[in-house]
Symmetry: D2
Subunit: 333 residues, 4 copies
């Protein structure tokens, strides 16, 4: 049994709490949130303990691993404390929106030799994992072209936009990670262009809601990602991988499987309403992977170095959004 | 080049005329219709000759094959004349609605040793042919269960109903032929039940518009057919074959491939509006098969003996509709 | 909070245990199983209490509702004890394989005025519930034809077959319940025919593994059900409802959404491997419905009287399997 | 009846010949090909006349319209002769690979006031036409993002590549035309990047076989096109239009509708093997449009000015392939 402390009891903290409570090899020991009442709500639901002291969460005598689900600007500090206390840590993305600061934190955690994982949970989505497995097995030959679609149901609140780092660092970064992981190559160049089509105030934040991004891989393979913040037909993501021997597609998910044949149309159940319905299962699977790694010392999925790479791509894409030209991706040494 | 005479210049005659005109190895020589003006319209369109004498159509000096597409009650007479004149013949179904008379006609044609085919055109539908090929190749193992769906867009006129022989002999018979052909076995028993749901006047003709028919094959395999005359979503047919090693399905066809994602629904293009859009290609393929057989002496697809078997099943099904019990199928000796 | 006792800690008892533990308004108090060790395993996992006395489960001072998931031959006794003790009860199907005994038990529970539900969980499947809602709302007009498919991945052990009551009472009965519920009418006649195709030893039990059943409804609408015990492509169920204004279909479920385009084929993820993956969510939803009914006094979904009706159809279908003719359905008075 | 002369009797000339022969309002009068024997083969098949004099094809006393399907480098000359003789003309794309020369030719034809159309036949594909109609009707709101996929089954011969103008001018240009036409806006900027992945010799021609192109529209809407020359799963094209109110998709076409459920996979019929199977119907529809325009004086679909615009986009895209940055599209004045 691994004793876990959870830091952060907001929406995504609540999701992690449920998975921690359900995992057979996890002892869900502690919850910390800057809002003590919110922490208490979570512990009440799951029979865990709440604490008002962050240090308790990093006390290696009573805790075996920390799950960081607090706000973005606190991730770096928690990761540093994990390094100091030698505490294994599973952290929500990003490490830090400032790439230099992120690099420095990763250096500290790496030197401390602490098992650490960034929660790019989509890697644990059943379909994306199957896609990657099939590509890695060589079943579609050499990767030539990848198409990724990431479309959210509604524009996040502007307060969120303000601290998000922009569409590339906040939304596309998930797919930058999937891209590297699926293709098995690190993109060398990136081009991005975007528009603010749903809310002109995005421009005040130098941000966009609709973007088209193109990546070049060392092999010459290409990758297109379209990201939109707000669509009117639910939550939509899909991935297509064209290889020299065939095509793979992780199709859109539907919320149900009922068809209505009326007149000259067939009306099917549409997509999930929210992103959470689509990807919720992957959070539990990601936690499972982390716990397995702790138990067996097996390699950790998206480790900090990999997360840095995804951030580096997002950085170059953000630059390209402004420059209007292909930008080289500069990976941290 | 095979010189063809066409008998019958109604709707289906017009379809055959177009296929005769387009076939590279066919010389579309002659059209006869009891309505001379109607024959003339067809010949004008396709540069063929019209005749007002039926005998010309059966003149072996100038004609190599006759295609019979006239009204049902004339089929037997034309087939007999083909037997007498030694003329190869491709005839629309049925041979004759009266099974005894049909048996007698088949005897005559068979004795005359004339190449003859009944136009159960669905055997030449690309998907159904693929289904049968796959079953025959043993790719899904032994057939255990077949489900067939045959649904028309609208009730035919009552005048047609009056001379159609009823839903089993007119509509289901196509699928009785497909059933035998696909399963590779002759059904031994049949149960049918039906209702007149769209127009109560059907009962005046002792007919139904909605029926559920079950066949038993000698191997113990079962077959369900649902037939309806009038649906509100186009023209619908599909077939499913469950074998001991897997399932095969010839899916519904759609009129187009456009999807509209709006709100929580996905709206796709629906089915074809009419039966003709769905199966038109199979008429040309059936003609091609017949011409090939004439050229190469290869076996003829649905020959008269096979057509009789399909009629025998329809006969037993019609009986079951009234008796409410499983009836044995009595095949002509 | 409703205090629940669970009777039966086998596979399906384990499923119920998990749902009881997760339900926010349920206090999962007690587990009883004739095999005490097995009960203990379940309670250990979920922090519930185990008991070796059946009476404790029916003690109204400490328990608010009982969930019966023990073996079929014990259902009647537990339902009688629920009647005697005035205990609300959610019982796995069937009430009792002997229809007369089932009728008698239902009489007792009804007289005791105890809230009681039979767990025909498929009613709570998202897609089937949507189907029924749409039909009930009149969105496809009057029901004319229903097609149901129920196909299991493998033949149950013969020991199970021996006590199952046969394919109609054990497998088809779920769909007889769905049929009534979806159509909003009680079938009046039934025809069934079947074969033992996967294991000839089924004949020793007078049972079949492959059957085609046809129901007639008072309106003249028809219903076809094909049931097979063993297919080679996973677990398969689907329902189609043809109405006078359109068609509804609850399609097959797939285990994933990955497509592989290779050569001239597209290879998609197939069906779930087991029935449980397909319908597991419906167990939780059924429990939710029962708890809601307890809380609000709202009407209970498949109540005992409805369960008896489904059994009556299964009874007539079993008779038809032998008689080879349409049999009237005799509903208990 | 419109008397048509066909110039060019190669593969695509043969396709046009068949459509000319089948069109009820067309008198298929004449065929000219630089290879007289080849012209003769086509006229033999369709009962048209062959000529060895190009002038006969432009003789307004005997011909009402010319269809130009000869090699690319002859288009400009034939268009000029049409202008001189006042002959309506339907011309295969492109006008001329040299944009300046194309502009000059269009000026001459326009001044001659001759009805002229460039055969961007995909506009007449049933699904793409439906897509455009739906967008134009405002049914998905304002266009925000378009995704187009164009993937051929095999690399054309290098001799063809050598005179093709490169992937943008030869392959992508069809989709540049569809893009403008569907979006209802003229792209202002384009970015393209590409690789030679299937045959390194493409680099000798400064060409690519795999490309990712991004267009920006004046409204800020974005458009992504991926083009590949050689895939291993048939011929693949599809289009997706994301609007502010929903998503439209013209899906991939399948060559058949048979599904095979075996083990844990469902194997469906794949895509067409060749591009021609996928789009052949659109050639007839394009001809129909042109004949209608001649008869009714209705506006002509892709006229020369529109074709020039598509070429201008291809020109800018070709430039971007080399520059690695967004290039402005310069439309001819």
């Amino acid at each position: 049994m691994h004793r876990f402390a959870l830091i952060g009891a907001g929406f995504i903290g609540g999701v992690h709490a449920q998975n921690l409570a359900a995992h057979p090899d996890v002892d869900f020991a502690l919850v910390y949130d800057i809002d003590h009442a919110r922490a208490r709500q979570v512990t009440d639901r799951h029979n865990a303990g709440a604490t008002t002291s962050l240090d308790e969460a990093f006390d290696r005598d009573h805790i075996d691993a920390v799950l960081v689900a607090s706000s973005t600007d606190t991730h770096a500090a928690h990761l540093r404390q994990a390094a100091k206390s030698g505490m294994p840590v599973l952290c929500e993305k990003p490490i830090d929106l400032d790439l230099d600061r992120a690099v420095e934190v990763v250096r500290q955690v790496t030197e401390a030799n602490v098992p650490a994982m960034v929660d790019f949970n989509r890697r644990f989505d059943r379909d994306y994992a199957e896609l990657r497995r099939t590509v890695a097995a060589g079943d579609v030959g050499a990767v030539q072209l990848i198409q990724m679609t990431s479309r959210g149901p509604s524009l996040p609140p502007l307060e969120y936009i303000a601290v998000s780092g922009g569409q590339m660092r906040d939304q596309a970064v998930h797919f930058f990670d999937l891209a590297r992981w699926t293709a098995g190559e690190d993109p060398v160049e990136v081009f991005a262009t975007g528009s603010a089509l749903t809310d002109p105030r995005l421009r005040d934040y130098d941000d966009v809601d609709t973007s088209a991004t193109t990546l070049r891989l060392p092999s010459g393979a290409l990758l297109q990602i379209d990201c939109t913040r707000q669509i009117r037909y639910g939550y939509d993501e899909r991935i297509e991988v064209l290889g020299s021997d065939g095509l793979l597609e992780a199709r859109r998910h539907r919320a149900g499987a009922v068809s209505r044949y009326v007149g000259d149309r067939v009306v099917d159940d549409g997509l999930h309403t929210t992103w959470f319905e689509r990807v919720s299962a992957s959070y539990g699977a990601a936690l499972g992977h982390f716990v397995d790694a702790l138990q067996n010392g097996s390699p950790i999925g998206p480790n900090l170095a990999e997360a840095l790479k995804a951030q580096a791509i997002a950085e170059a894409a953000t630059l390209s959004l402004r420059s209007g030209q292909m930008e080289p991706v500069k990976y941290p040494a």
